[in-house]
Assembly symmetry: C2
Homo-oligomer: 768 residues x 2
Amino acid sequence: MTRRPDETALPGMIDARQRVTGRIPYAMDVSVPGMQHARLLRSTSAHARIVRIETDRARAVPGVSAVVSGADLVAAKGLFPYFGPVFRDQPVLAIGKVRYLGEPVVAAVALDLDTAQRALDLVEVEYEELPAVFDAAAALEAGAPQVHDAPPPTGPTYADIIVHTQAGTNICNHFKLRKGDVEAGFAQADFVFEDEFTSPPIQHVTMETHNAVADVRPDSITVWASTQHPFSLQSTLAEMFGRPAAGVRVIIPTLGGGYGAKGYPKIEPLVAVLSWFARRPVRLHLTREEEFLTITKHGTSIRMKTGVLRDGTITARQSTCFFNTGAYADVGPRLIKNGGFGTGGPHRIPNVWVDSYAVYTNIVPAGAFRGYGINQAAWAYDSQLDMIARRLGMDPLALRMQNLLVDGDRLMTDEPMVDAHFRELLGTAAREIGWSADEVPVVRDGRVRGKGLSCIVKATVTPSTSTAQAKLGEDGSLYILMSSVEMGQGVKTAMAILGAERLGLPISRVRVSEPDTDLTPYDQSTGSSRSTFSMGTAVRGAVDQIRGQLFALASDELEIAEGDLEIVPGGRVAPRGAPERGMEFGELVRRSRSGNLLGQFIFRTEGGLDPETGLGIGSVHWHQAAGAAEVEVDLATGKVEVTRVHAGVYAGRIVDPVQAELQTEGNIAFGVGQALSEEMIFDHGQLQNGSLADYLIASIGDMPGEISLDVLEHLEADEIHGIGESAMPPVTAAIGNAVYRATGVRIMDLPITPEKVLRGLREQRSVR
Amino acid sequence: MTRRPDETALPGMIDARQRVTGRIPYAMDVSVPGMQHARLLRSTSAHARIVRIETDRARAVPGVSAVVSGADLVAAKGLFPYFGPVFRDQPVLAIGKVRYLGEPVVAAVALDLDTAQRALDLVEVEYEELPAVFDAAAALEAGAPQVHDAPPPTGPTYADIIVHTQAGTNICNHFKLRKGDVEAGFAQADFVFEDEFTSPPIQHVTMETHNAVADVRPDSITVWASTQHPFSLQSTLAEMFGRPAAGVRVIIPTLGGGYGAKGYPKIEPLVAVLSWFARRPVRLHLTREEEFLTITKHGTSIRMKTGVLRDGTITARQSTCFFNTGAYADVGPRLIKNGGFGTGGPHRIPNVWVDSYAVYTNIVPAGAFRGYGINQAAWAYDSQLDMIARRLGMDPLALRMQNLLVDGDRLMTDEPMVDAHFRELLGTAAREIGWSADEVPVVRDGRVRGKGLSCIVKATVTPSTSTAQAKLGEDGSLYILMSSVEMGQGVKTAMAILGAERLGLPISRVRVSEPDTDLTPYDQSTGSSRSTFSMGTAVRGAVDQIRGQLFALASDELEIAEGDLEIVPGGRVAPRGAPERGMEFGELVRRSRSGNLLGQFIFRTEGGLDPETGLGIGSVHWHQAAGAAEVEVDLATGKVEVTRVHAGVYAGRIVDPVQAELQTEGNIAFGVGQALSEEMIFDHGQLQNGSLADYLIASIGDMPGEISLDVLEHLEADEIHGIGESAMPPVTAAIGNAVYRATGVRIMDLPITPEKVLRGLREQRSVR
């Protein structure tokens, strides 16, 4: 089946040439007349009352236009200096207290960065230390230091967020899932497993660090930023400055990577406030070291209790998840839902009880991270599943296959699974990695090999909305207006392909916008692997309006019923079977004297969970992925080498095969780093490895020698699934299982460092 | 009757604050990384063969990236170096021949302007002089030098353009109007008047001179320009570089004035070509002196023969118009149509014969100018009408009133006049100026006063197309996407008002785009006083789609039939008569979960003239204006002082009273300058006064001591008429008539200089 006419099938990003010639303009390339530069002074305490901030000498430095601290924010009239996508709990600069080590306390704006730094060097801050708490579980103990004195202020937020706060505790939010009778399930079980699995905070390490330029005037606010959420930023700034959203213009050039780090406002509210104080445009561009102090993936511990029958049937699961959301909530209150119901995995489990907590502590805030809670959940359930298989004497593949959801089964949220492809994905993974139930690890040259598997299910944010407008010009070229953010994932190319194929155009005839809230229509977010599906549907809807107009025009011109016409590749409408009698789009537009044809479409998905039971519709469709890994463990050093990885993801219909594969490769890289080395190490709140000299992302040398990819396509549903994140969690879990299968060492706490493996090997020997 | 709810009626431009604080970004504020600067070497001959151009030494100057001449254009592969809105007759740099003195011959691109100039100083150009012709009538004589050797190449052009070229002559185009039996009309007349009236070429003198930045890459063309025609520029560049229009992005910031000077491409094609040669972004910003060598209003002579009955009834008119379009056609081939049928004025004339010629000569090209042919036409017919009145012994007011079109009368083009308000406009003008049929000029202190009247009708370009898109955000703010060019006329404000009033919003809640061909939908042009009407209709259509969606949403939410709902000022929909039960737009949008409501509209007007008879539909509606002037003439010096001016224009429905009045005041300023002082003086093709030191635009000191304005509103038609140009022609003609009435001196040739008046006074005396 040919999915796409001729040239539209050409792979490659529409901005490829600009990309490789260095001509993509990023936010950091924006220069505004009169623009000055900001530097930040950050907290040296993890939790302290701010006794005094002395800024007079800093303000006196020539070339300094503003020195701002929390006291200035409080004194400012008409300014609401807090932000946050769920709770408005984060001040742009610390007010009264600091809550983590590295929190911005004072900002200086000056002609250049050196001058701003000179000013900050003259600032004196006096702290009164407060007891601090860094561990999520510890933060929930009685008498634990309280990170926030009062319940966090809320504001307008997202439709899918369920809020259960508990005043007087560090519980930022609590997601509950109650399905079936979990106690009965455990009673029915032959075996009950109880384990705790942890994942550390890690950093996204986008190539482009956070940066923004803000120009705040009495009559207008304009912000250029590297963010995945233009409209969230717009409404945040409108709220902060007490202006209508239309008074705030947010322009988003291409991002140098996002991975969730740029989801929701981060530094942009501060930059806007600084522009307001400095009365001129201000740029802030974080250093790599500051990036580590801005946002992380949630460090998480998951206590997982699973009941199984002797034959491997899962009867019940209870999960207690502690997501350490750090000093400020960010999107933690929502992420715990995905991480919470995610602990069920893609398995048939009749009785489920989940308590998933976002917990405030005195470390760097945590937020969205590629995989969005599923990395942590899959690490727990798919590690435990291999432990169960071993206990039951079952093949881990067979145990999985037996429990994987098939069409009609109920998900954790009790909604029925449709279009399930877990078995196919996992089967391919097992085949590609050369899985054998009977394989016994063999030690050779002091090294031992093993293989592991994993399979996950992941929600896409539901309900959600994407909107698009389109026009077809007099030369027959298509323009798409949309607000999805290009961040290297190729959304502009995907939208160009989707628009082009509806009209049989080559993608070279399509122009796709970047977000500009003044000009481009609403999109909820660029995240949750939703763009190709959600914005793609909106774009196709808008283009279909134009397609309909083309048929109507051609019908008039050719005097042939619309039903007897068809699109001919190259941008023509012709009588069915007589392409030579067709008319070019441009000619149709010109004859219509309409200047351009216009189209628009609003695409909404529906869903939502009951706030008390967590049951309902969790996702408009479910992302499905499987991974397999082969590792070689050096028994002398404990070092794990990943020799082979397979990653599979269900795409529904593939829009761009090249980019779909590249995204999947990217997930392998992330999954390997997360499995073996990535970890932000805090000592009493002080980050120990906050630079790329010390923090170990996977390098090309860590990549598996062999990889295989399975971007699984099933055209019958004509549905597009996002594939940006789902293949990452199973890669990590499969590596853990491979190490387990190779060595018998069960690492519960990521990452799988040589030290941990070696310790496990030694404990094995001492047990023997 | 209240037209607008509360705050929407507030006067003032939406960009007023930016405007007065110097923060409007103009094209000249655009800066692109790597951008270099261009300077031009211009022809020193009015008509010559280019024998040799030596550029080697220029190219060797350090810092020079390109030196380009016509030979390079011819040698360039894939480049079509000609442009023009009707005929592609203008090379971006002279090729083979120069056709006017001041034509660009060589361009240098360099790091800075001084370097570019140093390079040009080293260029040698050798010319072989050719016989030249400067006067339009002379250019049509047998044996006249031919400005163009071959008939001009044509290309896609505008729907309303009628082309009659005559190979082997300097006739660029010929518009014919043939109505009734003009010979019979003259035979029937008691008197036949034959006179010739001339108007000189004048310059638009926009505050901002032409400037553009072009960035031409193998895969993209981006141009920032000060032009009134973004889409014309886009298609021109697409044609020149052989690319689809979608490969060309045209961005138009606010203009510092246009007045027709910036209609259609001017310097932008050259700048793009220079970027192509220099392989980097290039800016060209014309000096004021160069502006005079770029585009002018057509110098025109009109031979007018009019037959009248003794009672003042006009029986026939024959007009022969020579519009001197200079060396290149620009939009002259279309303008002669408007100038041609414009010679009938707003009068009932049963028999008409018009030959209107655009004539090539060896002077600076002429194109669109505020008034678009009607200035020249009105100067002829309304001057002659006062001569007729004097000959018949009639009151000029009465003679006009008797002949003015009323509803149902036939215009020159034989279409019926509807919604005629000429008598009302002229009556008001006469009353405001204190017109009396019996008034006799009285000499006091060597000065004599007199009054004059004039009344005009003007077409708006028909057929034409404007399109708009709109969105309503979650805060209830409205965004309008359109491609009309803001050039100080306030189109953004007008569109904001029109959009706002459909929704009962304050205009502070409306954002209006500027043109960006990648993002904003098609508009044919910003000219012909069409934007408020044409784009306004498109904007209202797009907003009405949103309005309809709001009613539907509110009907669902409030469970009240749509017909029982109404818009309440401030942005709410409420049950009729119960505003307190209404819902805010933002709330409706949020509850709809659509992110934004979207609207779009394509507005087309229909019409066209028969190419052989000039009869048909010349305009979708007709602009109507009247003027009155009082002058005081110094009999010793001949100097004319304009003491009072009244300008009246029919607006249909007024959109913005303040701006409507300011536009009318602007027309007075233009009309006075055109009447008394503006004239580009050529000597054998050499411009004698091409600088603001020598060229006399009206200054504030030349403004009448008293002015009165009549922006006439009739709401019953609910129609918006453009008011940007129509009040200008009658001001000039009324001043001429006032001088005539004061002194008896009939100036036939604009401007009315003291020398001409003095000569007339002396001739009177010698006749006496």
